[in-house]
Symmetry: C2
Subunit: 199 residues, 2 copies
DNA sequence: CTAAATACTGTATATAATTACAGTATGAAT
DNA sequence: ATTCATACTGTAATTATATACAGTATTTAG
């Protein structure tokens, strides 16, 4: 239903390319010229198909009145995480914000930090940390861990089959020592960046 | 010559807004309608002025053929500041990076922090701080100060006609106490945000 | 003091662009 | 078997749009 045919995907990609390169969407004629159509109506038909499938919006009577419906260059910002729900579940998404290339790693989402357990490495209450969920978690990096539905940000300092140590970067807090065989432990990702709004 | 008049800035901002909201630039008529012009030629004149000043490009014979010249939505990143040169002088600009809306205040530039004098407020060596240069500097905010050509980031804790106290947020450093009548002191801006890349 | 730049109104026109209608041909779905 | 979606050609008309030319008034720079 909302899957594009190969040809439609080519058209859609061309529209995206045009917007990215020129700063505005193509006309029917420009599409036709690029693909070698001899009639602008070929492009018109494709646009109608793309609209029907929800990939673009068309403003009637408007030149270049094409807008992309699914401009997925935004990244979810996760606020409080409901117990048991996946990190990126809709209920956890506070809002979506534009992809900010602040890190040398890919960013899957931002997570709003609660509490002061990481102030010694400069992560404060209410900061946003950029999270990459695919990086292999490594010792001495800051990880996002889920311990029995509880999401926490800590430095991973030891990891083996029967012992994981998560360190709070604040002398008022104790290390968290876990036996992953006994406790439900998941790594949600690695912290690859930080954003703070000082208001 | 490359500074816009207030009116031209309004036009330019409207074009940016349109592109951001609709996904394509406005026509002369749409500009005229928004500003209440009775002739599309008023918009035409403004576009020509914007082009002349290098803020937009116009493709002749092309509907909505307005594209923003790149330099505008990027913000300079200031690395090391040469003694005596204005903050935004070309020689200080490490590179330009896309405007990242990380702060509730406007951002004029990013400044790469050197040293650990502000670690107690979570500003670390090599972090980028977002700087607003127009906010009135206030007590208990983090300011960018220039003391005799030396640029420093500190918390302003006292300010009067003959005494200014700048506090390093690190117990290993002493406060900087200055008599602004005797020492050349300038406030370059206020820290309104922070970006860190954890690699 | 004068020319140029700014900020418009008002009219007009060529052309850029949308978009409907009428077809043809092929493959997939009911 | 026949309708529907896909993927086009070909023509044409209305309207959307760019843009030139002729003005006026005010402000700014040399």
């Amino acid at each position: 239903m909302n899957t594009l045919t190969n040809r439609q995907k080519e058209i859609f990609d061309f529209i995206k390319l045009k917007i990215s390169n020129e700063g505005y969407p193509p006309t029917r004629m420009e599409i036709s010229e690029f693909f070698g159509f001899k009639s602008p109506n070929a492009a018109e038909d494709h646009l109608k198909a793309l609209k029907k499938k929800g990939f673009i919006d068309i403003l009637s009577g408007t030149s270049r009145g094409i807008s992309l419906s699914v401009h997925d260059d935004s990244i979810p910002l996760i606020g409080l995480v409901s117990a048991g729900s996946p990190m990126l579940a809709e209920e956890n998404v506070e809002k979506r914000i534009p992809a900010l290339p602040i890190s040398s790693h890919g960013i899957d989402y931002y997570l709003r930090v609660k509490g002061d357990s990481m102030i010694d490495v400069g992560i404060f209450d209410n900061d946003l940390i950029a999270v990459n969920k695919d990086l292999k978690v490594k010792k001495n990096t800051i990880v996002i861990a889920r311990i029995d539905d509880d999401v926490t940000v800590k430095t991973l300092i030891e990891i083996s089959n029967n012992k994981v140590v998560l360190k709070a970067e604040n002398k008022d807090y104790d290390d968290i020592v876990i036996n992953p065989k006994k406790v439900n432990l998941n790594f949600e990702g690695t912290c690859v960046g930080l954003i703070r709004n000082i208001s």
